[in-house]
């Protein structure tokens, strides 16, 4: 069957008023990604590209790429990028933030990067209330290295480094790190969404947009956790991985806005202390 398919330049013949409903955002480069079939990173990249475009941010953005599957994010998003050592993206972003107050600063990290090797960096960037937007893709596994257990791996989940399933007695419990971060007064916005279905993807996009707006409005640290899948690492078909995501994963990591303290960071007098040693200060 041959169908005429209108390109963006040439709408369908005899249908000059055809309306464009959806097109790939321009900032998402027109090339195939290295991600496996069905991988949620592609969805998060696309949402990010859409939001940046809608907020007119690409020309002002300096982004920090992680180590892990998303290490090549700069091949797909046509914005300025710096590579960070494993886990250090929030520190790298802090350096950018402080010397470029006018830039829009973005980090993109996976769960091994952010919730294991980079815990100190993410906690302290959040504690300082750095005006950065952090995108945290949580698929509960180290995908790039072959599907090893991550700090976010569910109890009982089999991975290449927990071949008998994650046992809490031996390997501890999954970390809800976004909830942990939300405790900190420097965090203006923290939310968790997922790429599991069309509705959730819409909500996730709204969260990413809000996290970007927080930074534009002068707020503090903003983080969006995107629960994602890893069909290959989980040993599932893409469709099975989506079902798993909707079931046990979302159960372990509840969806929704965890904290939204408004654009401008709230005063934190309750955490301050008078300094008798330096009365002049």
């Amino acid at each position: 069957m041959t169908l005429h398919t209108p390109g963006p330049e040439s709408p369908a013949p005899g249908a000059s008023a055809a309306r464009l409903i959806y097109a790939r955002p321009e900032v998402l480069r027109d090339r195939s990604t290295h991600y496996c079939p069905g991988c949620g990173h592609g969805v998060v990249h696309r949402l990010l590209a859409e939001v940046l475009t809608e907020l007119d941010l690409p020309a002002h953005t300096i982004a920090v790429a992680p180590v892990g599957c998303a290490v090549f994010a700069y091949d797909y998003l046509d914005i300025d990028f710096v590579e960070a050592p494993h886990g250090r993206a929030p520190a790298v972003a802090t350096g950018i933030r402080r010397v470029r107050p006018e830039a829009f600063v973005l980090t993109y990290q996976g769960d091994g990067d952010l919730a294991a090797i980079g815990t100190a960096e993410i906690v302290h960037a959040a504690a300082r209330g750095e005006r950065i937007t952090a995108i945290f893709v949580n698929n509960g596994i180290y995908g790039m290295t072959g599907g090893q257990m991550a700090p976010t791996t569910l109890l009982g989940q089999k991975t290449t480094s927990s071949p008998f399933g994650r046992d809490a007695a031996l390997m501890g419990y999954p970390i809800r790190i976004t909830e942990m971060l939300a405790q900190l007064p420097g965090v203006t916005y923290a939310a968790r969404g997922t790429i599991a279905d069309v509705g959730s993807i819409g909500k996730l996009k709204a969260m990413i947009k809000r996290a970007c707006q927080v930074q534009m409005e002068g707020g503090g640290f903003a983080i969006v956790e995107a629960l994602s899948n890893c069909p290959v690492g989980w040993g599932m078909t893409p469709q099975q991985s989506i079902e798993h995501l909707k079931g046990p994963v979302v159960e372990a990591y509840p969806l929704g806005v965890i904290v939204d303290r408004g654009a401008v960071a709230q005063p934190t007098h309750d955490l301050g202390c008078p300094s008798p040693a330096h009365p002049e200060a």
Partner: protein, 406 residues
């Protein structure tokens, strides 16, 4: 010292003024005057005063200062700031520098300019807080993973450290590389009268800096390349850059070399001890000169090799178990005897000790020069086996326990 610019005559007077300054503070102020936009640090002895000076001054000047959550945090903040083209500095001491190895490798690989100051203390491990030069290997032989080098500058006085701060920023930006300035704890902690003469390297515009992709495609600062061919090409480019640096930026100082029979090779504080020893040796009629590398990498190998053709012997003095002496031997290639004297653990060799080592070296050189020298030489070929081990030798443990020196 408070205002960044003071008007007219006052500024001239200040610039000429000689004031007593602590090494750490003088280095910090020199970095500020060299146009350092951002400083990131973490407290560690013996460089804490550098951090403290920055904490006050950088904020007074409206520049960036962050006390990071760790040395990892500090150096990665520097990586981010430097990627945007800012003039960036980090300082620490030995254990902290070890933590920074990772980011240094990334910065060398991605061509990110930055200056790292190491006020060296004694190791290994937590070691002690006394002065040391035991990070020579770490600084000159790689530090982190991968085939890379960083220029390493080693001042021998606080005044020189101030001048070399400006040079460090220049080298970093000219060659797109991290640069290390290493000084032992004495240079960090001691106070010396210094000229308040500062230098601000000219600002360049960088065609690689991340400024937001306005009207141009996105730029990437990265070290990764999974294509071996491409990665080898990048490595070859790096090596080419290192050869250029070695050719154009090698720095060293000679003193009393014109008639020297023996030469001491030493840098930093060890070079100052060596000077005193050389003065005493010359009083006793032993003609000794000083060869002081200022760049530890690139090491002044060619100059030292040339020198080794004209002298009887070389003594290397370090605050270490003998690290730079390996580079000295590589440069000398057996043309003359190379002896070593060093102290560890935060101790500094005394001029008397150095004198003793010089006399021993002189004896050795004289024997080689004597007609009967062949009588002293070992057989050309000899099979050497370690002695058969019978029992755990208690004296070894005894010595280790006592931390005994011979």
């Amino acid at each position: 010292m408070t205002g960044e610019r003071e008007p007219g005559a006052q500024a001239d007077a200040n610039r000429r003024a000689r004031v007593l300054m602590k090494g750490n503070e003088a280095i910090a102020e020199a970095a500020i005057q060299a146009g350092c936009d951002a400083y990131f640090g973490y407290p560690i002895t013996p460089q804490a005063e550098l951090l403290e000076w920055m904490a006050r001054r950088m904020l007074e000047l409206g520049r960036v200062f962050i006390q990071a959550e760790s040395e990892l945090g500090a150096i990665n903040m520097a990586l981010g700031a430097a990627a945007t083209g800012a003039r960036v500095m980090v300082s620490s001491s030995s254990p902290g520098i070890s933590l920074m190895a990772e980011a240094m490798s990334y910065m060398a690989g991605s061509g990110t300019p930055m200056v790292l100051v190491n006020i060296m203390r004694a190791g290994p491990g937590l070691g002690g807080i006394g002065p040391s030069q035991s990070d020579y290997f770490q600084a000159t032989k790689g530090h982190g993973h991968g085939d890379y080098r960083v220029p390493v500058l080693a001042p021998a006085s606080i005044g020189e450290a101030m001048e070399l701060m400006a040079t460090s920023f220049e080298l970093a930006e000219r060659y797109r590389t991290p640069v290390m300035l290493v000084a032992d704890g004495i240079l960090g902690q001691a106070m010396e009268p210094v000229d308040l003469r500062f230098r601000t390297p000219e600002r360049q515009t960088f065609d690689w800096a991340l400024t937001g992709a306005a009207g141009r495609p996105g730029r990437v600062i990265k070290s990764i390349d999974l294509d071996p061919e491409v990665l080898e090409r990048r490595n070859l480019d790096l090596q080419h850059k290192y050869r250029e640096i070695a050719r154009r930026e090698t720095r060293w100082e000679g003193w009393q070399l014109h008639d020297a029979d023996l030469v001491i090779v030493a840098y930093g504080t060890a070079a100052r001890v060596a000077r005193t020893a050389i003065e005493r040796a010359r009083e006793k009629g032993i003609r000794v000169g000083l060869f002081r590398p200022i760049t530890l990498w690139p090491f002044p190998s060619h100059e030292l090799a040339r020198l080794s053709r004209h002298v009887g012997g070389i003594l290397t003095v370090e605050l270490s178990a003998g690290q730079m002496v390996e580079d000295v031997r590589l440069a000398v290639e057996g043309r003359c005897p190379v002896a070593f004297h060093g102290r560890m653990g935060g101790l500094v060799p005394t001029p008397d000790e150095v004198m003793g080592a010089l006399k021993a070296l002189k004896g050795r050189v004289d024997r080689i020069a004597s007609p009967e020298r062949h009588a002293h030489m070992a057989p050309v070929s000899r099979w050497h086996e370690p002695p058969e081990r019978t029992e755990a030798e208690p004296w070894i443990h005894e010595r280790v326990r006592r931390g005994g020196r011979r």
